[in-house]
Symmetry: C2
C-alpha cells in the first residue's frame, strides 16, 4: 500500500509560531511527522489552508477526503473558523464542540478542537493544553489531582472525574525569557549552566517572601557588577525566584494535593526540584507525545459521533 | 561677550542611550542646552570624546580649558576612565571621589561623578541618581526620610544627615515596558488612557497578596479576550499590580517614614496616588532640574577643592 493509501487521518499541533504534523494510519499507527515555522499573525483564511497543504500534500489521496484534526492557537484564527471556548468545568475535549474549518480543497476535512475558558475564580484561557490533558487522561483516566504544565505560560490544572475543574496560568516562562534576554539583567544571566544552591535559595526566598522578588531581580545585576556571583548562579537564581513566585501563588493548588508534572524533561526536573523543596514528590511525565495522543482521542470521539 | 567667553563649565547627564548637556555661565547661569541619542554600548575610548565634542564644540574656547562634569552611566565606561563606586553610607557626591577622564583635546577637562554601591542588606548600585539626590539636598539639606525615585529602575533611598544610608532598586518600569510592549499582554494593554479604579484595585491586591501578581498578569490577557475589560483599564491595572508589588517590598521604607517622590510629574502623580492608598501623603517634586542642580553642586565642590 502506498503512504497515501495508508493515511487514515492527520493530527496537527498548530501553535502561534510553529506547526507539528503527525500522519496517522489505522489503529493509531504513526506513519510520518512534519513540522513548519509559520507565524500565525499575518495568515489570512486562504493562508491557513495553503500552509497546511504544504505540510501534508504528499499524504493526501484524490480518491477520498482525509480528516485533519488541529488543536492549539489555530482556534483563534477567526478568519478560518469560529471556535468558541468551552467553559470549565468540562471534559478537556468533547466531539460536540469540535468545529469544521472552511477549506477549498476537497481532499481534506479540517476539524479544530476548541480551547477552554474560565470566568471564576479568575478569568483564564487555554488553547492546546486541553489536548495534552486529554492525552494524559487517556492513559490515566482515574487521575484526581493537579497537573502542573510548565512552559512559556505555565498552567496549573485541577482535574477530577475526567473533567477540568479549574486552572490558572502564569507568565513564568515568558517573564524569564524577557528578563534574561532583553532586560538590564541580560549581561548578568548566563545562557546555559546551573547552580543548585542558587536555584534553591531563590525558590525558598520567593515562597517565604514573594513581595521581595521585585527587589531581588536588580540584585542579580548588582551582584554581577560587584563580582559577587557567576552568570550561571544568576541564571539558576532568576529561575528559582520566578518559579518560587509561581509556587507561592499556587499554594492552594499543591498543598495536600496529588500532583503530576507534564513537561519537557529538563524543565520538568526543575519544577519537580522546586516542589520537592516544599516536601512534595511529583512524578514528571514527558509532555512530548501528549498532543498526538490527545488528538488520537479526539479523532476516535469524532469518528464515534459520526457513526 | 561671545557665548564661548561666557561659558564657565559644562554639565552632562550621560545615560545608556541619551545624553543631555547644559552650558553654564558664571553663578549657575544656564546659557544653552543640547541633547543627543548615542548608545553607549559600542563606544570606544575615542568615541566618548568625539560624542562629547560634537555636542559642545560650539561653546569651547581655544584660549582656555573648560571643565566638563559628567554623571550617569558614563561612569561604567572603563575604557575612558576607571570610576569606582562609592560605598554607602556616604554623601551622594564628594569631590575627592571624582575621576578625570582621558581626553586628547586640550580645550576640555572632563570629570566623572561616581555612582554609589551597597553590599548589605542587599547588593545594589546606582549611577546618576546620586547626582539628583545631591541636587535635591542642595535645596533641602535637612531632609531626613526616604526619597522615592520612580523610573525604568525605581530607587528607594534612605537619607539622613545629608548622607545616603541605604537604597533599593526595582525593575518596575522596565518590567512594565517588557510586559506591556513585548509579552503576550501587548494586545491587551493600551498605549495610553487610564482607569483609576483598575489602578487602585491592582495596587491593593498586590500589596495584600503580592504572590498573586504572578497569577493576575495572565488574567489581563484572558479578560481582554473574554471582552471583560478595556485596554485602558488593563494598562492601569498592570501599572497598579507592578507598583503594588514594589510597595509590598518597600514597606520598611515607607511605613512611618517621611517620604518625597522625585519624578517626572505624570509618573510622580501615579506613585503618590498608590502611596495615598496606604494613607501616606508624599509630596511630588519634578526631577527634571535635579541632575543639573546636582552637577552644579559637584562643580562648586570641585572648584573649592582646587582652591
Amino acid at each position: 500500500m502506498s503512504l497515501q493509501e495508508k493515511t487514515e487521518w492527520i493530527a496537527v499541533d498548530w501553535g502561534q509560531t510553529r506547526q507539528r504534523v503527525w500522519v496517522m494510519g489505522a489503529g493509531g499507527n504513526l506513519l510520518a511527522e512534519r513540522s513548519a515555522d509559520q507565524g500565525m499573525e499575518r495568515l489570512t483564511r486562504d493562508g491557513f489552508e495553503t500552509t497546511l497543504l504544504a505540510m501534508i500534500e504528499d499524504f493526501l489521496s484524490d480518491a477520498r477526503t482525509t480528516p485533519v484534526l488541529c488543536s492549539g492557537m489555530v482556534g483563534s484564527a477567526e478568519d478560518w473558523a469560529e471556535v468558541p471556548f468551552q467553559a470549565v468545568p468540562c471534559a478537556p475535549q468533547s466531539a460536540d464542540s469540535f468545529v469544521s474549518a472552511r477549506t477549498g480543497d476537497a481532499r481534506i476535512a479540517v476539524t479544530i478542537v476548541p480551547g477552554l475558558s474560565q470566568t471564576s475564580p479568575a478569568p483564564d484561557l487555554m488553547r492546546g493544553e486541553e489536548t495534552k490533558i486529554a492525552g494524559f487522561l487517556q492513559s490515566s483516566p482515574k487521575f484526581d489531582g493537579v497537573l502542573v504544565m510548565p512552559g512559556t505560560h505555565s498552567k496549573w490544572v485541577h482535574i477530577s472525574a475526567e473533567e477540568v475543574v479549574s486552572f490558572q496560568t502564569f507568565l513564568t516562562g515568558e517573564l524569564y525569557a524577557l528578563l534574561a534576554r532583553q532586560s538590564v539583567l541580560r549581561n548578568a544571566v548566563a545562557i546555559g549552566g546551573w547552580d543548585d544552591a542558587a536555584f534553591e535559595s531563590g525558590v525558598s526566598e520567593a515562597i517565604s517572601r514573594p513581595e521581595s522578588v521585585a527587589a531581588k531581580l536588580f540584585s542579580l545585576q548588582a551582584e554581577s557588577l560587584l563580582a559577587q556571583g557567576t552568570p550561571e548562579a544568576a541564571r539558576a537564581r532568576l529561575s528559582g525566584l520566578l518559579i518560587g513566585m509561581e509556587l507561592a501563588a499556587t499554594r492552594p493548588y499543591w498543598l495536600g494535593q496529588n500532583l503530576t508534572v507534564l513537561a519537557a524533561p529538563d524543565i520538568g526536573k526543575i519544577y519537580a526540584r522546586a516542589l520537592s523543596l516544599q516536601g512534595l514528590q511529583a512524578p514528571v511525565l514527558d509532555s512530548a507525545p501528549l498532543v498526538r495522543e490527545g488528538l488520537q482521542t479526539a479523532y476516535e470521539a469524532l469518528t464515534a459521533a459520526k457513526d
